[in-house]
Symmetry: none
Subunit: 417 residues, 2 copies
């Protein structure tokens, strides 16, 4: 029989509308993939009594309850107390293991631990601490009536890895499910969805879905089987099929970032990269260096936000600027070639564009971007008009630049391979 779950979110910032709850959608998707049916989401403010009632009501209806939020160190964080109340007014006791982990965390960051942080080591009697490697507050696993209740911190960068590592493995049962995730860049979600339409409407044993986040489209495959080996073989067969259909659109898998993949290709080719950024203001460099070990292949570059720096450091001439404008293919090309020359890099990526909301014209609208790539075989340039707001234009621009480098590196490897 399918297990049922209720997801509870806690926080005044949710009930007053300051924050949109994304945790519930994430957990719902993951629970569905794990074969668990989510019957309800409930959101309450930082209110001990209401939260305790919500936990108790959820435990009456579902066998799994996941609560996010309310584990911070301040007085408005009431999830520990509410869980203890729902467990039958159990006392909170200090968990020595958690206290030691929290203390060590503060030693490591060389800051005094405040008394309020000590409250984060409190657990309802008989509950289990879930180690948090991404923040101070441990999670909690407990039993309320017939339901297993998991309490996780609210910040998504703590909640999601804790769910994957500590909660998801406990929710299986009844056969095996294997997962594959493939990441794509270069087409929209609907275009990719159309190429996979028959796979996405197949059956319950193999589920294929797409999600879009920050310009990256991920194809998620979940395949059931009698055991792990069978489920894995089934998931792999579908993944292979998806790879055949989407080809170069797929840049990586299982959480790999575009920057990490490009970094791997640069390292393999023993080549160095530099950047020259205008409208992205440092975003390309920031994405490239988000990968540990980027110093093996990334030299750095120039943020030439003001035109004077495009001239002084990159060799863009006054004449180019006045004739074509800063947002133009000749300027992008000169920026890339100038960055390669300045740094001695094998590859140089340049971007110049109009991120908006102001600064657009009929001829050069907001979203217009030129990307240039100088490399061993010469310089190429591309023109785009990206939709969306300033953040979106800048992100699309940076990711497109990095993706062009990926395709160029693949082509080079193919030539020499």
């Amino acid at each position: 029989m399918t297990q049922k779950a209720v997801i509870i979110s806690c926080g005044d910032e949710l009930t007053n509308g300051a924050t949109i709850d994304t945790n519930s959608a994430f957990l719902s998707r993951r629970l569905r993939e794990l074969g668990v049916a989510v019957i309800r989401h409930v959101t309450v403010g930082d209110d001990l009594e209401r939260l305790a009632l919500a936990i108790a009501a959820a435990a009456d209806e579902a066998s799994i309850v996941i609560l996010t939020g309310g584990l911070g160190p301040t007085l408005d964080d009431v999830s520990r107390q509410a869980l203890a109340a729902a467990m039958g007014n159990l006392p909170l006791v200090e968990d020595a293991h958690s206290l030691e982990r929290i203390s060590r965390f503060f030693v490591k960051i060389n800051r005094p631990m405040t008394p309020s942080n000590r409250t984060q080591a409190l657990l309802p009697a008989g509950a289990e601490a879930l180690d948090n490697d991404w923040g101070t507050a441990p999670g909690i696993a407990a039993q309320v009536k017939n339901a297993r209740v998991f309490v996780l911190p609210g910040p998504p960068h703590e909640m999601t890895p804790m769910f994957e590592r500590l909660v998801a493995p406990r929710l299986g049962g009844g056969g095996a499910i294997a997962y594959r995730t493939l990441h794509c860049f270069g087409q929209g979600e609907s275009a990719i969805g159309e190429q996979l339409a028959d796979l996405m409407h197949r059956d319950q044993a193999i589920r294929v879905g797409t999600t879009a986040s920050g310009g990256i489209i991920s194809v998620r495959i979940a395949a059931g089987g009698a055991d792990d080996a069978q489920a894995a073989a089934s998931a792999q067969a579908v993944a292979d099929d998806v790879r055949r259909r989407l080809g170069d659109l797929i840049f990586g898998q299982e959480g790999q970032s575009l920057s990490a993949v490009v970094g791997g290709l640069l390292r393999q080719a023993d080549q160095r990269l530099a950047v020259a950024e205008s409208c992205t203001g440092g975003l390309v460099g920031q994405l490239i260096t988000a990968v540990a070990g980027a110093s093996d292949y990334f030299l750095g570059g120039v943020i030439s936000y003001a035109d004077q720096l495009k001239g002084k450091l990159l060799g863009v001439t006054e004449e180019m600027l006045s004739r074509h404008g800063a947002v133009s293919q000749p300027v992008a090309t000169a920026m890339a070639e100038g960055a390669a020359k300045l740094t001695g890099a094998d590859w140089a990526l340049a971007v110049t564009g109009i991120a908006g909301p102001g600064g657009g014209s009929e001829e050069k609208p907001v979203g217009l971007v030129y990307i240039a790539l100088a490399g061993p075989a010469g310089t190429s340039a591309w023109r785009y008009v990206f939709p969306g707001d300033r953040d979106m234009v800048r992100l699309r621009c940076a990711l497109s630049a990095i993706n062009h480098l990926r395709l160029a590196l693949l082509a080079e490897a193919h030539k020499s391979g």
Copy 2:
């Protein structure tokens, strides 16, 4: 007395995680502005019985219930039936006015009306139709026990104008709530919480809470009052108190970003900024240029990830590097001064550090960062050891750098003011 509301969202696409619910946050924000306290959000799938129970439970606790979704023409849309059930198993009756509006809509778009669209004119006996000028499904207003229940279509482009035109005007009266949010940087949530502990002790008339996101701590204040003016005065008094206690830790309010505040100060002083980034790889520039209009005060700078660029572009000497190492105060200072000289900026921020996870030593651990700021009155430098993973170290580092610039700009303004 403040009115209480429960918001219900209905749809399998929400409970299976395919769609993130944004309606609840919108409605919460608007209700808050109308002086209504939202005590809970509930999301259920397309399930008649569960939805009817959710409506009935909400009507027990709140005087206002807003339900979105489930008004479509297909069989899985069950909001009409669920409302009728919650009203005491009332029958559904066809509303002639709504049927005529729906028929006219199809004539207007020159398409035949299907029988299933006719079901959209059904209402629980005694309920009132809310005209929908943005789609086919009328909304519904009804009484369930002592609560007023409003049912609106799920698509935000229909829901939001219908709420504004048909629901909001009916919700006034009965006290008001005013809100203030103050954003802090420079101390952890627990340290800030301790300075506000007495304010954060639960009091129903004035609530003070903290949330942490990406290194920024936000203090949220909600104050009730007999009317808007009284609530606003009360919220302002608490905000003033929080400002007195936290002083310079507070950089902004009501959603302002640190970069936007610093940008405003630079613009006010008519001064220019440049950056020299090592471990952050462009993140400082990216944050500064996330603000539209940053070209008024941001020139750009150098991403000197490789040591050779620190030398070539910023004047960091071989001797400095070999004697102190790239992650050192003398190098940070030289980078800042070099960037100011290279670009002609009034202010230059430099960062150099060990973002990890590799590259640390006993003497220079992962998280060690030097920040330097060259300005009109000379160059200052700071040493930090930041906790957390690579992303967190880089973000803290970039925000701390920008915050030092903020404090320096404030000090300059104070001197000359």
